[in-house]
């Protein structure tokens, strides 16, 4: 029996290992699986084969990160999960860019409204007051929206699902903070100056730190 195993080993795996792999993979019927478990009580070769099969399939599964599943005939190379992350990045950036674009338009509109209200001194005081209130409300709205943009940004970075390991996570988050465009912070400062909210940039920084 043993010679038969060793003879076939150079070509195919041993019958015991094959049976163990089939057992692990669920390729055996219930009756066959029960019989297999029964034989494990006295067959040390089969028991060893089961242990080997677990180690082997585990090792192969562990290499899943290194060998692209279902690609090709090309031998596997190092894993590249970045396309997935980049796709997520791209989507996130598009959302943030769209929101920021809308907000910048709002900032521009509120600033021009503010200038117009200052350029008409002959207006009755009540109207001027109303206009000032209106502008202040718009600026506040912009401020709130900018805060929400930052929170969207933070959420996008926090909701990444594909995180290969901690070091990759660190890299991604560092990259994410580096990707926050300067004009976004400039818009924040503009809004905070307009509204007199001195604390907003600090909050923005805090939000960024939270993302990190």
């Amino acid at each position: 029996m043993k010679s038969e195993h060793s003879q076939s080993a150079s070509f195919e795996c041993s019958p015991a290992l094959w049976e163990a792999v089939c057992y692990l993979a669920g390729e055996l019927s219930t009756v066959e699986a029960d019989a297999f478990e029964e034989r494990l009580a006295d067959d040390i070769e089969l028991a060893d084969a089961l242990a080997s099969a677990v180690r082997l399939t585990t090792a192969v599964a562990e290499t899943a990160v290194a060998v692209p599943a279902r690609t090709s005939s090309v031998p596997g190379t190092a894993v590249d999960v970045t396309p997935v992350l980049r796709q997520s990045d791209r989507r996130g950036r598009m959302v943030v860019a769209a929101v920021c674009g809308a907000l910048l338009a709002l900032v521009a509109w509120s600033a021009s409204s503010h200038r117009e209200s200052q350029a008409v001194p002959a207006e009755p005081s009540r109207l001027a007051s109303d206009s000032k209130t209106e502008v202040q409300g718009a600026v506040d709205a912009v401020t709130q929206n900018l805060e929400s943009v930052l929170s969207v940004w933070v959420e996008l970075n926090q909701s990444r699902e594909v995180l290969p390991d901690d070091s990759a996570l660190d890299t991604l988050l560092v990259d994410a903070s580096a990707d926050v465009p300067d004009w976004m912070f400039a818009a924040l400062q503009t809004a905070s100056i307009g509204s007199g909210a001195e604390s907003l940039p600090v909050e923005a920084d805090g939000a960024q730190e939270g993302a990190l």
Binding site: C13, A41, I44, V54, R55, A61, V67, A69, P75
Partner: protein, 177 residues
């Protein structure tokens, strides 16, 4: 008292037995339970019994004795914990030995050295395309052999042969230290 003493393994014997067999026993128990916590429990109980009783067992039969105890403990634990149904589901319906389960349960750290995985990875890369494709579909994509045969338009026997050839090479890679 003397009889009890003679049944017990000395600390050196127990340590040596543990070094020789614990890894294989853990893998073996996992094969029966598909749960690393339960598998570790089985290994602990098995070595607890070994400390108490393996002194009676001839040294060259201790390995076999350990596996037998582990097998009995695993099956008893499976019955006790009511995990038999889960195992059957995993064996039958799901048919999976998922790499994700493997990763989540942190087995790589406990069962395999990084070098082992690296050797297997290299062996996997060096397989002929046809064999590697069967391994990938079977283990990574969780397909049954019948499904692989149907999808690829190959006879089932061809698929099985390719898998066996591939396993032989991968096994050699894992054994070579």
């Amino acid at each position: 008292m003397n009889g009890e003493e003679s049944q017990r393994l000395s600390p050196q014997q127990a340590g040596s037995l543990y070094l020789d067999c614990s890894e294989a026993l853990l893998a073996f128990a996992w094969g029966l339970l598909r749960d690393w916590e339960l598998a570790r429990e089985v290994v602990q109980v098995t070595f607890g019994k070994a400390l108490e009783y393996a002194g009676e067992v001839p040294p060259d039969a201790r390995r076999k004795w350990l596996f037998k105890v582990a097998r009995n403990e695993a099956l008893a634990l499976r019955r006790r914990n009511g995990v038999a149904r889960k195992v059957q589901e995993r064996l039958g319906a799901e048919r999976r030995l998922s790499q994700f389960e493997s990763r989540q349960s942190d087995i790589g750290a406990s069962l395999l050295q990084r070098e082992d995985v690296e050797r297997v990875r290299k062996a996997l890369e060096s397989l002929p395309d046809a064999q590697r494709e069967v391994v990938v579909q079977r283990i990574y994509e969780d397909k049954t052999f019948a499904e692989i045969a149907a999808d690829s338009g190959l006879p089932l026997g061809t698929v099985l042969t390719r898998m066996r050839l591939a396993l032989a090479k991968l096994e050699q890679a894992l054994k070579s230290t």
